[in-house]
Symmetry: C2
Subunit: 436 residues, 2 copies
């Protein structure tokens, strides 16, 4: 193939970034691709003042790009999973390669799309779908290919990390910081997926698939959002030597997989504890390399577009010498992916942070600690604050030793039934990552 | 090509790691390579008890591997630049692909070897040559290919970082920690290249070449070692909000290049300030992605072997579908590399840390600061310690504003001529990386 001709669908934040890179770096791209690579067609419902599209064919119907016989690669940047799914499906069926930044699409429909792409012998790539400008897809798929990967953990939602960082640094409440994040453009008008962990779960599913060679399963992760974290918890965590990050964690335990997204206390001494604001970071543990950490911008127009373009350059280079892309989408051909069981949530062992408010009177602490010790749950640290003036209640914070989640749930249910306890018990997971 | 057959030359730390990965992960490698990839022949002067070589043809003469018609890829892991240069040259001339971990070989003879490889249409790869298990070569060459890279800075010598970290944390002296590093096996019996910066300079030259598309020039970096750093400097740096790291820094300033290896004060708030011990870290600044940082093990048997194997897997995959490797060794064909002038050392601007010991008497500080202000050098911070009991001398630490190196040199020469100054002025560069 003399030159790979590109059609971009979608002209939002990422789409305009891709167009800008092609506008500004045409020579560099041709040189570094070592082959022709041309943007020829853009499909977008409306213009975007952030980029100049005058050199390209422009269609209001994104499907025009798919139907264009002059387009070899369709870049799907419209987002969502309905039109995007049709678009990518039709592109593949038309024999076109596809590059996308759409994590929801890959996490939810990746298995079917990959099967279609393999059948049609076209490439399907999505470096930009996880962690924006951080090249974690390529690193997992290629750089660590000779490793058994045992764990991946990361800050993979910049909005959530911005909110937690602001809450921790300024002692501000969740709603307050969320409103600021929206004003700054970090959070969507509807920030549900950022806040409830869905966005991070989609990304985690993709990372886990690449890391462990398992099919994509969007429903696999146990997912908790950040909206339950309070400034008080961030304060107590700090006192105990931890900071709180919203992490996606994928761990291989023998032949089972543990997949979780939740606010997590991590020791302040860990590299990723120091990744603040809208930055993302992904930590990989693998048997040969040990641990590596990649940090960088997890979102944004040009960083994400940089990842989209790296996929395009890869394809341009490879397809100039070969009829097909020799790289399977998930690192191995999809019929060699192996479904591994998920560890049931109740059986996942871990250390927990608990915060509860109890009556300040003799015997209460004995009751609480008794409920834990009955189930063999040891206490690693305990902080009891004196009651504030005029109050008869004290706040108690407990760090447990490692315990199965089901055991802890049962102890907490019993605690919450005590008349001396006010409200419910706040519970957050603690990860030291000594074994990931 | 049905299967890519590999010959490994050298069975030291890295060689035994490669053999161990092939012994332990044969199935994984075949699967992730999506093509045959077999280790067939090992050349080593002696055995290494750390790995089992019984499944492979073994030669005492490494050149037997090059002459073996059953070997398609020669992996050069013997180190040094004499025999290694002959070996790689002969392998290329015999039409074999080459993978090496040898930074000195690439930095010093890379231009000639790459030209030979291009002529012979064989691949020459060296992911393991820089930063051990960190996949920085692939990230610069492929993931950031659509970016103009403006700077690379890194902790790229683990031995040096171990020594500086120990000195800073335990207040120990250089010689003391070096002896421990040797006992622990982190430093070579002859640690000259680690200590004097040569090893880091070799790696920096390779990074700069990939980042900026310039030919390799082993003599380009201004290079200073870590042996001049004292515990006192580490203490003062800390007081000023900095830590001291031995960095390789490559910066593109317009159409000129600044390449330096030296102990550097960096703000303790920077990600790489927190990379301690034998870890390596590389920070890249590029126009689209912004800044990304990669951290991981910079040396060691399996981490470095992981990088060697990633090159082999890449080649196995690509060459199963294409007669030639479409990826140029330095990201672009060597005839498209562009020689850019180095900024003369005297003209490199920067902030400096100065430490001097002077007589504790009136007028001395005026003399010192006068010599700076005469040359337009402003003082950003100044620390003056009271004289220790019984001493008539005081230590003065100065942080300058940004100044051209030649200007500073001239001020320092005049300071050192003052009879009130004892010994010489200690000078270390300060980098905040706000602009890299």
């Amino acid at each position: 193939m003399a030159s790979l001709r590109i059609g971009v669908c979608g002209l939002g934040t990422v789409g305009s970034g891709v167009v800008n890179i092609f506008n500004d770096h045409r020579g560099l791209i041709e040189q570094r691709c070592n082959a022709g690579l041309q943007l020829v067609h853009i499909g977008a419902r409306r213009d975007n003042a952030d980029c100049d599209t005058s050199s390209y064919r422009l269609s209001r119907d994104v499907f025009e790009v798919v139907r264009d016989p002059d387009v070899d690669v369709v870049v799907e940047l419209i987002g969502g999973t309905t039109v995007a799914r049709d678009l990518v499906t039709q592109a593949i069926q038309a024999g076109k390669h596809v590059v996308t930044a759409n994590k929801a699409l890959i996490a939810e429909y990746g298995n079917e799309l990959i099967a279609l792409a393999e059948q049609a012998q076209v490439a399907l790539r999505f470096e930009a779908a996880v962690a924006g400008g951080i090249p974690i897809i390529k690193v997992l798929r290629e750089s660590l290919a000779a490793n058994v990967i045992t764990g991946v953990a990361g800050i993979i939602n910049g909005t959530g990390n911005f909110i937690l960082t602001e809450m921790a640094n300024a002692g501000r409440g969740f709603d307050d910081v969320l409103a600021e994040a929206q004003a700054l453009g970090y959070a969507e008008a509807d920030p549900t997926f950022d806040v409830d962990g869905t966005d991070a779960a989609h990304k985690l599913v993709i990372l886990a698939s690449l890391a462990f060679g398992i099919p994509l399963d969007a429903n696999a992760p146990v997912t908790e959002g950040i909206d339950t974290v309070t400034p008080a918890d961030l304060e107590f965590a700090k006192e105990l030597g931890f900071c709180v990050k919203h992490l996606g964690i994928a761990r291989r335990c023998g032949d089972a997989i543990d997949l979780r997204v939740h606010p997590t206390l991590i020791p302040t001494t860990r590299q990723i504890a120091r990744v603040d604001g809208v930055l993302n970071a992904v930590m990989v543990e693998a048997d040969a390399v040990g641990e590596i950490v990649l940090t960088g911008p997890g979102a944004g127009s040009l960083p994400t577009a940089s990842s989209v373009c790296s996929d395009l350059l890869d394809l341009g280079r490879v397809l100039s010498h070969s009829k097909v892309d020799p790289m399977p989408t998930l690192g191995v051909p999809s019929d060699e992916l192996q479904t591994l069981p998920l560890i049931p949530r109740d059986e996942v062992k871990g250390v927990w942070y608990l915060r509860l408010v109890v009556e300040d009177r003799p015997g209460v602490m004995a009751e609480i600690t008794g409920l834990l010790s009955e189930r063999g749950i040891s206490i690693e640290s305990l902080i009891q604050r004196p009651p504030t003036a005029g109050s008869s209640q004290v706040t108690v914070v407990i760090l447990t030793d490692s315990v199965a989640c089901g055991q802890l749930d049962s102890a907490i249910r019993n605690m919450e039934a005590l008349p001396t306890l006010s409200g419910s018990v706040v519970r957050l997971r603690v990860e030291s990552f000594q074994e990931v």
